[in-house]
């Protein structure tokens, strides 16, 4: 996005995206309902990863606590549906607003923290979340340790498709909206300010960027994306419980953006595919120690694709397009994917 000089011409790009979208729409009608469910989760995770990438990849604030915002979004949806009888689609904006508020508020103290301190403070949030959800004074809303079971929505307008297919299409529509908004946000003035804060905070300030405001707003927007995804995830899984939102989930999200490609929009999809499918794959290889296999996969991806899958794909694409010299390709790539090391 930031290296316009190598971008394809806009028309071809739009055509390519349109083909992809058409494929994505056709997909649920080609595979079984179970696969549709899996792909639906991929879309949900992709929204989370985009949100996290906005904060961590583009703005340089490391968060190990996005599982907490995901949980809040999920619970907002579940509580509104279960206790107040809201239709499922109306819970998404509510989840987004609530998470934006939480994110913004959390972003305020986060302003004072950097690098590792911020990572660990957000991690604390993720760790505390399950305990908060089962706290006795909120138990009547959250269902405590038992969680909340919600009803899966049927397709509207008498459409002759299964609930799984409908939810997939619904999620896809939300995803497209979120990605288009995210894309525009990151491409414009705002996006340049966000990235400038990551790379040259003092210079950015000198140029008149209100760092505090941008950082907290970025935190809020990132939490909003994650919250909307959390609500979608709850509706798709039809269940929320404290055990669904452990600290491991937050770590998974961070792993997702690293594998997908830090600071890359398309990376969200690759990362989502990884966190959805690789654990199952590891389980198929070894029942004795599936986590060890998963760990080996992680290492392999980090070593073989240092710029994430998105970086790798881009590099491969550049090679094909005839950008012969390795150095050229690398510099074009690094500009996009690699945030500066934290001081």
């Amino acid at each position: 996005m930031f290296n316009r000089q190598i971008a394809k011409s806009p028309n071809r790009q739009i055509a390519g995206l349109a083909v992809l979208l058409a494929l994505a729409i056709a997909l649920p009608f080609l595979v079984s309902n179970y696969r549709v469910f899996q792909l639906n989760m991929v879309l949900v995770y992709a929204i989370v990863l985009l949100g996290l990438n906005i904060l961590t990849g583009f703005n340089g604030q490391i968060s190990l606590g996005h599982g907490a915002f995901y949980a809040i979004g999920a619970y907002v949806a579940a509580i509104l549906m279960d206790h107040f009888g809201w239709p499922y689609w109306t819970t998404l904006p509510a989840a987004g607003v609530v998470c934006f508020a939480f994110g913004f508020l959390f972003g305020l103290p986060a302003l004072r923290l950097r690098g590792h301190y911020l990572a660990l403070a957000t991690f604390a949030l993720a760790v505390a979340m399950p305990q908060l959800l089962k706290y006795k004074h909120v138990e009547q809303w959250t269902g405590g340790v038992q969680g909340i079971v919600i009803v899966k929505p049927d397709a509207p307008f008498g459409l002759k498709i299964t609930p799984d297919q409908w939810l997939y299409l619904f999620t896809l529509a939300i995803l497209v909206v979120m990605f288009v908004v995210g894309w525009n946000l990151l491409r414009g003035r705002t996006g340049r300010a966000i990235v400038a804060i990551r790379d040259h905070p003092m210079a950015a300030e000198a140029m008149g960027v209100n760092i505090a405001l941008y950082k907290t707003l970025t935190f809020g927007v990132s939490a909003l994306y994650t919250g909307v995804a959390g609500a979608l995830g709850a509706i798709v899984v039809q269940f929320v419980a404290p055990d669904s939102f452990t600290a491991g989930l937050s770590i998974n999200f961070l792993v997702g953006i690293v594998i997908g490609g830090v600071g890359s929009i398309s990376g969200a999809f690759y990362g989502a595919l990884f966190i959805q499918f690789v654990p199952n794959f590891a389980d198929q290889i070894s029942k004795a120690a599936p986590w060890a296999i998963y760990g080996v996969f992680l290492l392999a991806f980090v070593y073989l694709m240092p710029g994430g899958v998105a970086g790798f794909v881009r590099l491969a694409w550049l090679r094909i397009r005839g950008v012969r010299t390795r150095a050229n390709a690398r510099s074009a790539l690094s500009e996009m994917t690699e945030p500066r090391r934290t001081p």
């Binding site: 590792h116 760790v127 760990g295 080996v296 290492l299 240092p306």
Partner: protein, 290 residues
């Protein structure tokens, strides 16, 4: 009052646990500028190593020393083989490598040693010192050893050429390289030292919480908290932070909010501390040049 004192002492005892692992975390931070998420699992694995040796009939202190030595070497090897390729990578890639190490160690330990808890012997007498009921001899001894390790590390980093070189390598790799320090090896040594300190921590913690593959998951969390409160680059801060977190957590749980929220409140306090003192109580203040 009796109960209050009891809570304080039991807090100090668990605080000692946090402190010992926090020390290992600070070690690796001092020498590599990274926070190692796999530190706890590495310590756990070292403890299993010691357990196997003792189980095979080796005397406690021999097993102790051997484990520390093997852990040191393993730490160096891990740095050379696994961390080296991502030395120049963005910090997030490094974090991912740590996560990978964490799950691998955890899973392999469960596979080899199963998940049933095991007792790990203590070198200290079974009877509590002076017949007190507040704190066991092992807990007291563990605190003593942790403080001992702290002093040794302090002297090492302060006064030995190697220690100074290691700190220099971590803080400014380029200048260090120019002044002839072999930065790569310094990093590896840092990993070795951290692994060795972690092994000591593991062997001190295991008699208290029992040995199982997940024994460190809880401790690591609090060790992070301890290191944060004390300042991630200060060994003294980390140890003090450990005791502080241990005692605070107990008192808050017992007298203020109840155990259901004690973790949450402890974490809120930590974030509170950081807001007023962003680098921890004893941390170095960042100065960044434009």
């Amino acid at each position: 009052m009796e109960a209050f004192l009891h809570q304080v002492f039991s807090g100090l005892a668990t605080g000692g646990i946090y402190a010992s692992l926090a020390l290992a975390l600070v070690m690796i931070y001092q020498s590599t500028n990274h926070i190692n998420f796999a530190q706890g699992e590495m310590a756990m694995f070292s403890t299993y190593l010691a357990w196997s040796m003792i189980d095979a009939g080796l005397a406690y202190w021999w097993a102790f020393l051997l484990t520390v030595a093997i852990s040191f070497i393993t730490g160096v090897v891990i740095e050379r083989i696994i961390i080296r390729p991502v030395e120049r990578a963005p910090v997030l890639s490094v974090v991912t490598v740590f996560v990978a190490l964490l799950v691998i160690f955890n899973s392999v330990a469960g596979w080899i040693f199963t998940y049933t808890i095991k007792t790990f012997p203590s070198p200290f007498p079974e009877q509590p010192l002076f017949g007190n009921r507040y704190i066991s001899s092992h807990e007291l001894g563990a605190i003593g050893i942790t403080l001992g390790v702290l002093v040794v590390l302090y002297l090492f980093f302060r006064f030995t050429p190697l220690g100074l070189a290691m700190r220099a390598a971590a803080q400014n790799a380029t200048s260090s390289r120019l002044s002839g320090i072999r930065v790569g090896w310094m990093l590896a040594l840092g990993w070795g030292l951290a692994a060795a300190v972690g092994a000591v921590a593991g062997m001190l913690i295991a008699p208290i919480v029992y040995l199982d593959p997940n024994m460190m998951s809880g401790v690591l969390l609090y060790a992070f908290a301890a290191a944060l409160v004390g300042g991630i680059d200060s060994p003294f801060g980390a140890v003090l932070g450990g005791f502080l977190v241990g005692v605070l957590e107990n008192l808050i749980g017992a007298y203020v909010v109840g155990t259901e929220l004690k973790l949450t409140v402890a974490l809120v306090l930590i974030i509170g501390v950081l807001v007023f003192k962003p680098t921890g109580l004893f941390g170095r203040v960042f100065v960044s040049r434009v």
